[in-house]
Each structure stands twice: as structure tokens, then as C-alpha cells.
């Protein structure tokens, strides 16, 4: 894995800016304000000091974005590790708003018993919670990283969606 040098700049009276330069030289990062507001920043190409966008995100939105960005990498890593085992797939399964398991535990889903699928990690707000126990409580926006057969994963997806 490549090394990303995140620059942390204090903004006195406002918060902290954390950003890094991506391959083409532009900066990507976040400004975290003292009151918890998060802004996603992307620098302009013709004026590297300025920001093209400065998008205010709620904590949930920031978490969802972090999952979108982080989960594929985790899944790719797991898929890579399972490559020698044909028939085993790794997939991301979302807990969407309105899912019957929003606020309930992994044990409640009984996914393992019903489909043979194992939940190996949960991505929440950009954080990985590896090997969740049956009492792990889901909330909307969580991304489950599950390993199993293709059919099993399909069934698990439906269970999480409809109960």
C-alpha cells in the first residue's frame, strides 16, 4: 500500500484542517470545526491555495462517504486473500435507513444460521469494526463486509433489507 502524508494544520479559533496531495498534485481533505461540523475540501487545479469545493457534511454523511471510500478497499483486500478458495465471495451489505435491523443486533439477523454467510467486519463512519460479536448493534448507514457463497450473500442482502 502507498503512503499518504496527511498534513494537519491547526486553524486557531475554528478547528483543524487535515489534507493531503493526491497523485495529480491537488489537495483533498477535511476541515473539522470545533463544533463538530465537517467540511470536505478539494483544491482548485489552477489555484492550489484555494478550494474548488468546500462541502459541509453532517456526521452521518461524512460516515457514509467514508464507508463508500473505505469499504471497496477492504473488500478488495479480503477478495484477494480468498482468491485461492473458489466459490467464496466477499461482498458489502448495507444497513439502509428503514432496514428492520437498524437498531438491532447481529445476532437478531441470524444470518449465519439462515444463509451460512459470515459477517467479518462492519464499516461505520469510516472505522472498521472487525469480527463483530452477535451483540453488535447496527445502525442505518453501516456497511457489513460479508463472506460466503454467491447465493448465501444474495439471501443475506434480502434479509437485511426486508427482515
Amino acid at each position: 500500500m502507498g503512503y499518504v502524508n496527511v498534513e494537519v494544520t491547526p486553524l486557531p479559533g475554528i478547528g483543524v484542517r487535515k489534507d493531503f496531495a493526491i497523485g495529480n498534485g491537488r489537495r483533498v481533505g477535511v476541515v473539522t470545526q470545533r463544533d463538530g461540523k465537517i467540511e470536505l475540501i478539494v483544491s482548485k487545479s489552477d489555484d492550489p491555495d484555494a478550494c474548488l469545493a468546500s462541502l459541509p457534511l453532517t456526521a452521518e454523511e461524512a460516515g457514509a462517504l467514508a464507508n463508500l471510500l473505505g469499504a471497496p478497499q477492504l473488500v478488495a483486500q479480503l477478495t484477494e486473500e480468498h482468491r485461492e478458495l473458489p466459490g467464496i465471495n466477499t461482498k458489502q451489505l448495507p444497513i439502509k435507513t428503514g432496514s428492520p435491523f437498524d437498531g438491532r443486533t447481529l445476532g437478531d439477523t441470524a444470518i449465519r444460521t439462515r444463509t451460512g454467510v459470515s459477517v467479518v467486519a462492519v464499516m461505520r463512519a469510516g472505522q472498521i469494526h472487525p469480527s463483530p460479536t452477535p451483540d453488535f448493534t447496527f445502525t442505518a448507514g453501516d456497511l457489513l463486509v460479508a463472506v460466503g457463497t454467491a447465493e448465501g450473500l444474495e439471501a443475506a442482502f434480502k434479509i437485511l433489507k426486508h427482515g
Binding site: 494544520t9 491547526p10 486553524l11 486557531p12 479559533g13 475554528i14 478547528g15 484542517r17 489534507d19 489537495r27 481533505g29 476541515v31 470545526q33 470545533r34 463544533d35 467540511e39 475540501i41 483544491s43 489555484d47 492550489p48 491555495d49 484555494a50 478550494c51 469545493a53 468546500s54
Partner: protein, 398 residues
């Protein structure tokens, strides 16, 4: 109608009018400060509607407004931020003082207000409005820009300079001799150093004294502590405002954040009263004679602030557009210029014209500042294109 009823009605009318003005300011994207000042001019002495009955209350409320303005300014920065800001930006800070205090002092001397008037006007033109600037940077989505830390560290330096300047000013306004003035400076330097060290090492103990899980208890304790410290500081001739500011610095961490959140609405109310009281005590008829000087000062100090920001940003390795943005962002003057002028006026040590000049100046700068921050980018880009075009035609022609 009895006295209390009349007072309540007047006070209610003032607050309601201020609310309406604040809403108007928000609509047109302005800081409400100039409109509060205009509101104050409108009421009161020589204004359209004189207010007699609530003078005592508004006077005290205005004083509380100053204490809260400075307390929240202190809360805004932790001692560690002040130290790093000082280390990183002292050169830009010194340039800032030289460039921006000089025009105010020069005009005061030209108008024959003497060294005291010069000291006051130097402060008025020097200090940028961190409130207006932080808001504008947020509104324009510039928090993530690379020049923004430069702008903020200049503001941090200015606030430290205020902590030194206010006790000196208080001493001078109090008519203390030159030697006494030096003593006041010595005392305040020592006190500030002690407070900064205490805040850095033992900030959590200070925070623990005022902290509480109960909002009501917390609010009362913080407010009480601020007024106590301000009062004692004032009794010791160190300036109430500085006392509150230093208390703000000493309170740190999550306590500071909670205190800021709780006190902000209170500060807004009392600070609004303070601006109105300042406007009330300024006779609108005294403004036209000094208006030309206010315009001169506005033009000169806009250029000097842009110069300060440009220089500071260039030192930090920021490109031309960023330098222009940093300069323009610093232009706004506001609450603290009025605090300084207010101290001078209430001490009775300066001419009434000074209040008029300060009012007119802040009216101009509080409006001009956000506009400058907004238009600087298109203007700088247009200029850049023009010069780029010129060089291209120059090279094109053989």
C-alpha cells in the same frame, strides 16, 4: 404610565429594532455591527428618537457586552494556539502593527488630538474584526484554503497585542504619569505571562473551577467569574476587558467550547446593546465634519491591511491569488475598534469628535471588509489576465 412600564417599552423597542436590523444585515450579507451603530445614532442624543429612561441599564449592559466580547475572544483561542501563533506570525504581526496603527495615529495628531488621541486611533485602525473575518471566511468556503491559517495567525497575534494594548490604554486614559504608565505595562506584561503559563500548564484546574454538567450552574458560574475578574481588574486599573480576555484564555478544552456555546447568545445581546450605546453617545451631527478623514483612513488602512496579508501569505509560500485573498480578508474592522473608542470616550479623555470619527470609520470598514473579501478574487483574476495578456502581446510582436 409608570416608570418601569416605560422602561420596558423602550427597551423592548430597542431590542426589536435591533433584531429587525440584524435580519436586514443577514439578508444583504452584511455584518450587523454597522447597522447597530446606525441604530444607536438614530436613537438617543441628537438622534430622531431620544431615549432617556433606560440610560443606566444600557450603560451597564454595554459594559457587560464588552466583558463578554473579550471573554469569548479569549475562549476562542487556547494558550497553546496563542503560543504557536506568536512563534509563527510575529514578523507579520509586527508589520501589521506598524502599517495599520500608524495611519490612525497620524490622523489623530493631524487633527490635534494629542498623544492620547493618537494612541486611541492607532488601536482603532490596527485591530481587525476577528468576528467578521471568521464569519466571512466560513461563508465564502475558504476555511480549507491554504492562506487561511496565515490570516488566522495574524488575528491571533492581534489579540495578544490587544492584551498588552488595553492595559496601557487604560493607564494612559486614567491620566497616569509616564512612569505610572510604564509600571502598568510592566504589571500587565507580568500578569499576561503568568496567565498564559498557568493556562498552558494548569488550564484544566481553572476550567474545573467553573465547569459543571448542569447548564444553568455552568452559565452562572462562567458569567459570574467573568464579571468578578473584570471588576477586580478594573479596580486594579488593568482594564476590565483584559481581565475577561485573560480568563477566557485560562479556560480551555471542552469547558471553553461549552462556555462559548452557552455564552454566545448572551454576548450577542449585550454586545448589540454596547454598539447601540456607543452610537447613542455619538451625536450624528458630529459625523459629517470628520467623514472625509474617515474615508481617507478607510482607503489607507484597506491598502495597509491588504499589504500585511499579502506579505504574510507570501512568506508562507502562498501564490498571488491567495496573497490577495489573505490581504482582503483582513480588511474588516469592527467590534474591537468600537471597544477601544468606547473606553476612550467613557474615560472622557478624548474629544467627542474622536467617537464620531471612530464610528464613521467602523461603519465604512465593517461594510467594506466583507465586500473586499468577496470581490478580491474576481478583481485579482482580471488583473492577472490583463497583465498576462500584455506580456503575451509583447512577446507575440517580433
Amino acid at each position: 404610565m409608570d416608570h418601569t412600564a416605560l422602561e420596558l417599552i423602550e427597551l423592548g423597542a430597542v431590542f426589536f429594532a435591533l433584531g429587525a436590523l440584524g435580519r436586514l444585515a443577514g439578508r444583504i450579507g452584511l455584518s450587523p455591527i454597522p447597522l447597530y451603530l446606525v441604530g444607536g445614532l438614530f436613537f438617543g442624543q441628537g438622534g430622531v428618537i431620544p431615549l432617556g429612561d433606560i440610560g443606566e441599564f444600557t450603560q451597564l449592559a454595554g459594559e457587560i457586552g464588552v466583558v463578554l466580547l473579550l471573554l469569548l475572544l479569549g475562549l476562542e483561542y487556547s494558550a497553546a494556539e496563542l503560543f504557536t501563533g506568536l512563534k509563527r506570525s510575529w514578523m507579520a504581526g509586527v508589520l501589521d502593527i506598524v502599517l495599520n496603527a500608524a495611519p490612525g495615529a497620524a490622523v489623530a495628531l493631524l487633527l490635534g488630538w494629542g498623544p492620547v488621541g493618537a494612541l486611541v486611533m492607532a488601536g482603532v485602525t490596527y485591530i481587525s474584526s476577528s468576528g467578521i473575518i471568521a464569519k466571512v471566511l466560513g461563508d465564502l468556503g475558504r476555511l480549507g484554503n491554504r492562506e487561511t491559517p496565515v490570516v488566522l495567525s495574524v488575528l491571533v497575534f492581534e489579540d495578544l497585542a490587544m492584551a498588552l494594548y488595553l492595559p496601557i490604554l487604560t493607564a494612559v486614559l486614567g491620566g497616569i504619569s509616564f512612569f505610572g504608565g510604564l509600571q502598568a505595562v510592566g504589571i500587565s506584561l507580568a500578569v499576561i505571562t503568568v496567565v498564559l503559563v498557568v493556562a498552558l500548564r494548569y488550564g484544566r484546574y481553572v476550567s474545573a473551577i467553573v465547569d459543571s454538567d448542569d447548564r444553568e450552574v455552568f452559565l452562572l458560574k462562567v458569567l459570574g467569574a467573568a464579571l468578578l475578574v473584570a471588576g477586580f481588574a478594573s479596580a486594579l486599573q488593568v482594564s476590565a476587558a483584559v481581565g475577561a480576555f485573560l480568563l477566557g484564555i485560562a479556560i480551555s478544552g471542552s469547558t471553553a467550547e461549552n462556555a462559548t456555546r452557552l455564552l454566545e447568545p448572551l454576548r450577542d445581546v449585550f454586545a448589540a446593546v454596547f454598539f447601540v450605546v456607543f452610537g447613542l453617545n455619538t451625536n450624528p451631527a458630529s459625523i459629517p465634519p470628520v467623514l472625509a478623514w474617515a474615508v481617507v483612513l478607510a482607503v489607507v488602512t484597506t491598502l495597509t491591511k491588504v499589504g500585511t496579508g499579502w506579505w504574510a501569505a507570501r512568506r508562507a509560500g502562498i501564490g498571488r491569488l491567495g496573497r490577495a485573498r489573505a490581504g482582503a480578508a483582513l480588511v474588516a474592522r469592527g467590534e474591537f475598534s468600537i471597544v477601544i473608542a468606547g473606553l476612550a470616550v467613557s474615560a472622557g479623555a478624548v474629544e467627542g469628535e474622536l467617537a464620531a470619527l471612530a464610528t464613521a470609520y467602523v461603519l465604512l470598514m465593517a461594510v467594506l471588509g466583507p465586500i473586499a473579501a468577496r470581490v478580491v478574487e474576481p478583481v485579482a483574476r482580471a488583473l492577472q489576465r490583463k497583465t498576462a495578456g500584455v506580456t503575451r502581446t509583447a512577446t507575440d510582436t517580433p
